[in-house]
């Protein structure tokens, strides 16, 4: 249980012939903590050079429109390289190229994501492709919490997010028998802080969410069978977030 909040990284090398997409991938990569963007390059040749230089990412993300060399040739050359560990290969493709994409699957690619995708979908696909099943569950908890709090206009810079994330990883993925004190202690363990600090942070988040996202807060109230407009206790807030995240990830 204690290892639940240890975050597993997945390293990935992206190759897309569109410079704009590469810049967007780098920027998105710098603002999240699950996928390490080793590089985002625009040609197949650069992919080969990076791999030959000794870098060994867990996932290669290759676009079907890649040039110099094209994807078919690149997959063949990747098969010839002697790498310490074979990276998983994720192909990005337009949906109407299904037949040719299916051919790439027989040439060594592991999975496909079809356009149009959002970057959060692309990064989720990379994580799913390169991470373990347990890490994938934790990833979904983190991402859904992010989505939920952002939809309620919570400002991450106010702090306390990490404690809440750690607590929710425990409550969503673990057993239901918990009390507030135990959860605060759990979040404080190893952080050189007292459980009271966590309790204050939870209170701050609770107040902020009620103020900035009243509609979302009403939804949280409904999730624990309280009337809309109520003020949730910290434990009720945790229970309602747990309930919504479990529903979203189907647990």
């Amino acid at each position: 249980m204690r290892d639940m909040d240890k975050q597993e990284w997945v390293s990935a090398l992206f190759a897309d012939s569109d410079r704009g997409q590469c810049s967007a991938i780098r920027l998105y990569g710098s603002a999240q903590r699950s996928v390490e963007v080793c590089a985002a390059v625009t040609s197949g040749q650069q992919v080969l050079e990076i791999l030959q230089s000794g870098l060994c990412p867990q996932v290669l993300v290759l676009d079907t429109l890649l040039q110099g060399p094209g994807l078919g040739e690149l997959l063949w050359q990747l098969g010839m390289l002697e790498l310490p560990q074979r990276p998983r290969i994720l192909i990005t493709a337009m949906p109407y190229t299904q037949k040719s994409t299916a051919r790439f699957l027989t040439m060594g690619a592991d999975c496909i994501i079809f356009k149009p995708y959002t970057l959060s979908e692309l990064f989720a696909a990379v994580y799913r492709c390169g991470g373990s099943d347990d890490a994938w569950d934790a990833y979904r908890v983190r991402e859904y919490l992010h989505e939920l709090l952002c939809s309620m206009y919570y400002n991450r810079r106010l702090g306390g997010w990490n404690y809440l994330e750690r607590i929710l990883l425990r409550t969503v993925l673990g057993a239901d028998d918990y009390i507030a004190k135990e959860l605060y202690q759990y979040a404080a363990d190893g952080q050189h802080i007292r459980p009271g600090t966590v309790a204050s942070a939870m209170q701050r988040i609770n107040e902020s969410l009620r103020h900035t996202g009243p509609q979302g807060y009403d939804r949280l109230c409904r999730a624990v069978n309280k009337p809309e407009g109520s003020r949730l206790t910290n434990l009720e807030l945790i229970r309602s977030l747990t309930e919504l995240i479990r529903r979203a990830i189907g647990r």
């Binding site: 967007a24 991938i25 920027l27 998105y28 949906p95 299904q98 079809f114 149009p116 959002t118 206009y153």
Partner: protein, 272 residues
């Protein structure tokens, strides 16, 4: 991963020259544009101080909305420009129309509610054994999405779909009705400059999709609400294909595609 979108397209594999010119390049550009907005959004959410953060996020939300609208317009323009090519290129599958429409009504009602529009969609099935036909459900969904969004934009809050025994589909709403030029365009295909100035791409597309499905637009009512009657082609069922079409999994997939099509149409047109 959004692999379920894989069959959500109009173009078949053998349509390379067309897709490269229109749908393909446009879709690629929109994907990159949306990716950039996603990245900036994530960056601001995580790193930016107030008030840059909230102002920037509001701007990016607005940009996302506009990208969605442009994406839909570009898709529609591509479909209109190449409408005649659509007709015989897509494979068709047997489907029971009343059953499919029941699913469409439920999805549409939910998606409209998500856009803050309370609209009642009902289905009347007057047939005894259902209405089987060979159709491409992507075209069918696009036709219905355009008809429904047109009705809702005009102010209708009730839409009724009727399947009749003589192979007709009747679409009726309780809105203010259609202009005579729009009726002429739907029944006879005559397009006036005045009509184009008012921007009726939705109805143009309805006509194009109906033609692509092999449906004949028989009658359009302009007063006392808008209604249109489609005469469906005859169908000789092939029992072996019917068994395949009855698979629960494929039905679920068809509904997911229908929901995606309706969501995109409503999000782009109604969230204003």
């Amino acid at each position: 991963m959004n692999t379920e979108r894989s069959t959500d397209h109009i173009w078949p594999e053998n349509c390379n020259p067309l897709r490269g010119g229109l749908k393909g390049r446009l879709a690629e550009d929109f994907c990159v544009l949306q990716g950039t907005v996603d990245a900036l959004t994530r960056y601001l959410e995580q790193q930016a101080p107030e008030p840059v953060r909230s102002t920037g996020l509001d701007t990016l939300r607005e940009m996302s909305r506009r990208i969605q609208r442009l994406e839909r317009l570009a898709d529609n323009a591509a479909d209109l420009a190449l409408g005649t090519q659509l007709r015989q290129l897509r494979p068709t599958f047997p489907l029971e129309l009343a059953d499919h429409l029941r699913g469409v009504c439920t999805c549409a009602q939910e998606e409209l509610a998500a856009c803050g529009r309370a609209v009642r969609l009902t289905l009347r099935n007057e047939t005894e054994r259902g209405l089987w036909l060979e159709a491409d459900e992507a075209l069918l969904n696009s036709l219905l999405a355009n008809l429904i969004s047109n009705s809702v934009r005009a102010g209708a809050d009730t839409v009724e779909l009727t399947c009749t025994e003589n192979r007709r589909l009747v679409y009726r709403d309780n809105g203010p009705g259609a202009a005579p030029e729009a009726v002429a365009m739907l029944t006879e295909g005559t397009v006036t400059g005045d009509l184009l100035n008012r921007g009726v791409t939705g109805l143009l597309l309805v006509r194009e999709y109906a033609a692509a499905l092999g449906w004949k637009t028989e009658e359009v009512q302009e007063t006392d609400g808008f209604s249109v009657v489609f005469a469906l082609p005859q169908h000789c069922p092939d029992p072996s294909r019917l068994v395949l079409a009855d698979d629960a999994n494929s039905r679920q997939q068809m509904l997911a595609q229908c929901r995606h099509c309706l969501r995109r149409e409503f999000a782009a047109v109604l969230e204003e």
